[in-house]
Amino acid sequence: MHMQRTGVRFGERLFVGLCLLGVSLPLGLLLVLLGALVKAGMARLEGNFLLAYPSRHANLAGILPALVGSLWLISLTALLTLPVGVGAAIYLEEYQRRGRLARWVEINIANLAGVPSVVYGLLGLAVFVRQLGLGRSVLAGAATLALLVLPLVILSAREALRTVPQSLREACHALGATRWQAIGRVVLPMALPGILTGSILALSRAIGETAPLIVVGALTIVTFLPDGIHSPYTALPMQIFAWVSRPQQEFLANAAAGIVVLLTCMLLVNGIAIWLRQRLQVRAG
């Protein structure tokens, strides 16, 4: 009897250890891989990697066009997706909360969130690049990314709108405000911190997206900076992909350095989102 109980205890401990492995193995592996990555890219990060143009010589190549291209891409994506996403969220939350249309749109959004990103690239290729004649421009890339992150923006904006107490809307209407006045002057300002945080997090996803950009024709080697929305462009993940695809070993170090820059950018953007939320929340309170 006693023996059996210790056996059960032992089995239990073993299982807990096994479960802990499910958490620690992937996390540990990630740490090891990130460490190896930084080590591989460190040598290239010194010098003017950030300010140089791509080159046939791995140790002279830099990522300036990719960095500037990514900045263009994300700014345009934000300009395109934020008004539409927030507008759609307001419509679904404030005008159509339980309507038929809202349910129909909801099903569509849920479905869109599951569509592989490369398929969005095909949509962008057929519609923006060919049909609308935008070609391989930074605008076509941004429009494609905007559609890709739109479901995420709508989702987070709706959640933020839902946190505004119903009583505030009722108070507005009691004071004679119309629906839009209540939304524009009370509901939206209150929900803004949440909307901004969610949208920035959604956009930070777009910074790392590669597959749709390949399909809509972002270039891999660019030796100039984009000079407008119709300019050809490259982006950070595209440049990394170009270097990873090279057979020469030296370019892998460039890819590692590029990845370090990419991850740093994403970390920075996420940090900004969290900082913004805390700061704006204090102001509102």
Partner: protein, 296 residues
């Protein structure tokens, strides 16, 4: 002139504009379906649909063109299966740990840490698979090719772990404590309670998470394009280069294929197949999830 924002016509305009925004989301779904359908139909005017399923070779870029989808399907299935073999056990164990054993503090720390795995861009995982994981595997399996589905699949699996663990954990956590207490009252130990009471009750939620992860694995593009190779091959051997459906789309997009050619359209055909498979998996996952929602 100041716009009178209380005027009825202004209210109406605002509502119409907002409605338009919401309809863009619907338009996107419609646009994807339309684009894929139109190009696929144009493709079928030149190549019979039966070739897609009967031919065993995929060589649209060669002089002698074959359009058998099976090699690409096999590549996708192989990498996805390997990914799930990695992600399912680890993700499920992590979910059990977080829901049943971890203290609230540990849970609060580890959950976002695991989510971090899902936030890293796929291109970074692709680099890991090609530069670190494949060479490490080659030390154990010397005949492993530089591009292979094993390394790509394992890394893809690591990326999917948080998806399985977080959704499964939600399902496990939603199992009412009364069920656990009932099992303890009947004299069951902790392990029998987990395996015979908690896991079965959460089964539909767990199934939903696994199917969703499968859908994500099928649609993942960069890891397999970088590390699994670009050679369409009808094989289940994880050591040799293959090509997935997504990798084919990338391969053709990198070349400069003029619109209207058969190669150009073949990309949309593959995209349509991809869309249908992921759509079916997502719908299935949704059904399981709804069942789990009804139980909780």
């Amino acid at each position: 002139m100041r716009v009178d924002d209380a005027a009825p016509w202004f209210e109406r305009m605002v509502e119409l504009f907002l409605c338009g925004c919401a309809l863009i989301a619907v338009g996107t779904t419609g646009g994807i379906a339309l684009v894929l359908a139109l190009e696929t139909l144009a493709f079928f005017r030149e190549v019979s649909p039966s070739q897609l399923l009967m031919d065993s070779q995929w060589t649209p870029l060669f002089a002698e063109k074959h359009f058998g989808l099976w090699p690409l399907l096999a590549g996708t299935c192989l990498t996805s299966a390997i990914a799930l073999l990695v992600a399912l056990p680890l993700g499920l164990l992590a979910a059990i740990y977080l829901s049943e054993f971890a203290s609230p503090l540990v849970r609060r720390l580890l959950k976002p840490a695991l989510e971090l795995l899902a936030g890293i861009p796929a291109i970074v995982y692709g680099y890991f698979a090609l530069v670190f994981v494949t060479p490490a595997l080659q030390r154990v399996i010397p005949e492993l090719a530089g591009f292979n589905s094993l390394g790509a699949g394992i890394v893809l699996g690591i990326m999917l772990i948080p998806m399985i663990s977080s959704l499964s954990e939600d399902a496990l956590f939603a199992v009412p404590n009364g069920l656990r207490e009932g099992a303890y009252a009947l004299g069951a130990g902790r392990l029998p309670t987990i395996f015979r009471v908690v896991l079965p009750s959460a089964m539909s939620g767990i199934a939903a998470s696994v199917i969703l992860a499968a859908s994500r694995a099928v649609g993942e593009t960069m890891i397999v394009s970088i590390a699994a190779g670009q050679q369409p091959r009808l094989t289940l051997d994880p050591r040799v280069p293959v090509e997935t459906m997504t990798a084919y789309i990338v391969q053709v997009s990198l070349g400069d294929t003029p619109a209207g050619t058969l190669e150009y359209r073949s990309v949309f055909v593959v995209g349509a197949a991809l869309f249908l498979i992921t759509f079916a998996l997502n719908a299935l996952s949704c059904r399981f999830k709804r069942r789990f929602g009804g139980l909780a």
